[in-house]
Amino acid sequence: MTAIVLEKIGKTYDGGAVLETASLSIAKGQFVALVGGSGAGKTTLLKTINALIAPTSGRVLIDGQDVAGQPGPALRRRIGYVFQEVGLFPHLTVAQNIGVTPSLLDWPADRIAARVEMLLDLVDLPPDVAARLPAALSGGQRQRVGVARALAAEPSILLMDEPFGALDPVTRVALAADVRRLHEALGLTTVMVTHDVGEALLMADRVVVMAGGKIIADDTPAALMAGHPDPRVADLIAAPRRQAEKLAALAHG
């Protein structure tokens, strides 16, 4: 069963192509990482999935339905979305931030409250942060709230755009592990944009490499590690591999 189908997606801004006929089919339950340099078109491709960006050509199907025919807000309430700047609403408490999509869907208040409590536990935050304002949280805590907010309305799809980009390395690794755990536990289909190839290889079931608005590689982490004919892909994989080998050498003296 495919959760997300991207059919020959193209996007041009002012005549310049950002995406060129990118096609991708993602099965339910997969964890896909989109990697590539800046300007590769990863974020644009991700945002066509929840219709934050409308493609110039091609189709996006979610659970078999064409996105173009659906009202954007209703679609986005069914798809979790996390991005680097988090974008917590500064005038709302943590609980109100997490409960925002359920409240848009007119859930009853007690159901929202129960869901918020459960999500705080799920993203490993103490219950007493619920009443705080985002300004009173650390960067890692804020991104945990961001993840909780994305998952609040029980979506089956989670989109993440550089979710750990602004975090320190310790927090980053901890949160990455938690997200992967949530992906399993909630049976999510997850698409994550990252420029950190190591992170992509370690977290994802499938790594899609992009360059110049095109998909140039699409395989499992293990297959990519084994080598790739395209030198741009090989270079991209080589860097974290060399780093890992050096670290291993250091560890073994």
Binding site: E85, V86, L88
Partner: protein
């Protein structure tokens, strides 16, 4: 001093009430227009540029001029509405003041709304879209609440501006705290001026503080603070409206409106007429400090029922006549001319003239050997001429200037009170005086003769609006005043109001005329 203060304070409830009503209505209307406009402007850079430039342009028009401009505009619209629908509306008083102040209040609200909304973090905007909000939900749930402290700061600025500028609504016939300032300036009643300034300043400060409370409450999400601020504003509004509502309930609408231009003699004569009407059981509203041209138009339009004007002024400004056939002929021709033109009835000449005349200090006139305007023409090039604010633009000045070939070293304009001061201190050598002014005798001034008859006669006459020509009570009350006031009596009454010590109120001075 205590007397003058008590007298001033006794008028405070009505003036403050109107001031608050006017400012609150203008601010509410300003919010109603500027807030949605600000929201749209935040979405569209082009609209933002156009609306801010427009509001900024309005702000550069002096507020007094803005208020004055609305009167003829509304008069025109009212005339149009009478033609189209058969119903007109009052172009005087509340409406022009409200519209001008509304325009005036818009800029800070508009600017801060647009700035507050465009200042919202783009990440927050993207998150709002990402969680599935519609544009409307994003505006109401996210953008407006985040921008609210900035918007409130704009509302505060607008409130302070509006309360200050509302004092300028007096000349278009709207009662406000400005009545103290305009009348006080005219009669040199500094107690009244101070009361007007202090009341308006205190009002602005209190409103600013209450709005500040709301701003802080909203910014720090303290419900108690902003509810308290709102409650304070509501309470103040109700308290200010109470005397007006009480007045309206006990009296109903005033049955007569007596007008007056903006100088002491006019205040006194308005009180005289009002007293006569009240003695016959009429209820009277006074609209004082009207501009000279505003007063006649307001009468012709039926917005005031009666006021006193001067034959020469009407001759030149209304009938556009430049000749001078003599005092009696001018009155005769005015009577038929005004009736034909506007349906206005010239009821009765009061018996004295308040003529434009050029005046000099006696010592200076004698030293220079100036007795007439012809003498002045020969010596004028070394002298400074002082005129009241409208004199140099009046046809009388043009006619004197061309008849005698007058030219001066310099021309200066003064508010009438300061014009006499300037003559005393030597800042002006010749001034445009009024023959019934009490200060002519008191300051020992000489009036220069007019051998060529270039200045028309200025008989004080009671004018009655077209719709009151059949009103027996009004005609019965005011007709007996014909020919009862000579120039000496009027000078004495004027001086009683204008002098520095032992001032009388206009109503008290009016009683000097009926003895």
């Amino acid at each position: 001093m205590d007397d003058r203060l008590n007298q001033a304070l006794s008028l405070l409830p009505e003036r403050l009430g109107w001031h608050v009503t006017l400012s609150a209505a203008a601010l509410a209307l300003g919010l109603l227009i500027a807030l949605p406009l600000g929201v749209l402007a935040a979405r569209s850079p082009r609209l933002r540029w156009i609306s801010l430039a427009g509001a900024g342009l309005i702000q550069t028009i002096p507020s007094l001029a803005l208020l004055a401009l609305f009167y003829p505009l509304l008069l025109l619209l009212s005339g149009l509405s009478v033609k189209l629908t058969g119903h007109g509306f009052s172009a005087l008083g509340f409406l022009p003041s409200l519209l001008a102040l509304t325009l005036y209040s818009m800029l800070p609200i508009l600017r801060n709304t647009a700035a507050g909304l465009t200042g919202v973090d783009p990440a927050v905007v993207e998150a709002a879209r990402g969680v599935g909000m519609t544009d409307r939900q994003r505006l109401w749930r996210i953008e407006l609440p985040i921008a609210l402290p900035v918007i409130m700061a704009g509302v505060r600025t607008a409130a302070v501006w509006t309360i200050g500028a509302a004092t300028l609504s007096t000349p278009v016939g709207q009662t406000s705290l400005g009545d103290y300032i305009f009348s006080g300036l005219q009669t040199e009643d500094w107690v009244a001026v101070l009361v007007g300034c202090a009341a308006s300043a205190v009002l602005a400060l209190v409103v600013d503080q209450l709005l500040g409370l709301i701003e802080t409450g909203v910014g720090r999400r303290k419900r108690g603070l902003w509810i308290g601020g709102l409650a304070g504003l509501a309470l103040g509004l109700v308290a200010a409206l109470a005397p007006l509502a009480g007045g309206a309930l006990s009296q109903g609408r005033p049955s007569y409106v007596i007008g007056a231009k903006n100088f002491s003699e006019q205040y006194i004569l308005a009180e005289l007429m009002a007293g006569k009407l009240e003695a016959k059981g009429g209820r009277v509203e006074r609209k004082i400090n009207l501009g000279s041209a505003v007063a006649y138009r307001a009468l012709a339009a039926g917005e005031i029922d009666a006021y006193v004007d001067y034959s020469g002024t009407l001759w030149a400004n209304v009938l556009n006549r430049k000749d001078n056939p003599g005092r009696a002929a001018v009155l005769d021709q005015l009577k038929t001319g005004l009736k034909e033109r506007d349906g206005v009835v010239l009821l009765a000449p009061l018996g004295f003239e308040n003529a434009y005349a050029l005046a000099m200090r006696r010592d200076k006139a004698q030293a220079l050997g100036i007795k007439t305007l012809a003498d002045l023409a020969a010596k004028g090039s070394n002298l400074t001429m002082g005129g009241d604010l409208e004199f140099f633009s009046r046809p009388e000045w043009k006619s004197v200037e061309s008849a005698y070939g007058l030219s001066f070293k310099a021309r200066r304009q003064f508010q009438p009170t300061f014009m006499y001061r300037a003559l005393g201190s030597g800042e002006a050598d010749v001034i445009s005086a009024f023959s019934s002014d009490g200060r002519i005798a008191a300051d020992d001034l000489v009036l220069l003769g007019d051998p060529k008859g270039a200045l028309p006669p200025y008989d004080a006459v009671i004018l009655v609006s077209p719709k009151r020509t059949g009103d027996k009570r009004l005609i019965g009350a005011l007709s007996p005043l014909a020919g009862t006031i000579d120039v000496k009596t009027m000078q004495a009454a004027n001086y009683a109001v204008d002098r520095d010590a032992g001032k009388l109120s206009a109503a008290e001075a009016a009683r000097m005329l009926t003895r």
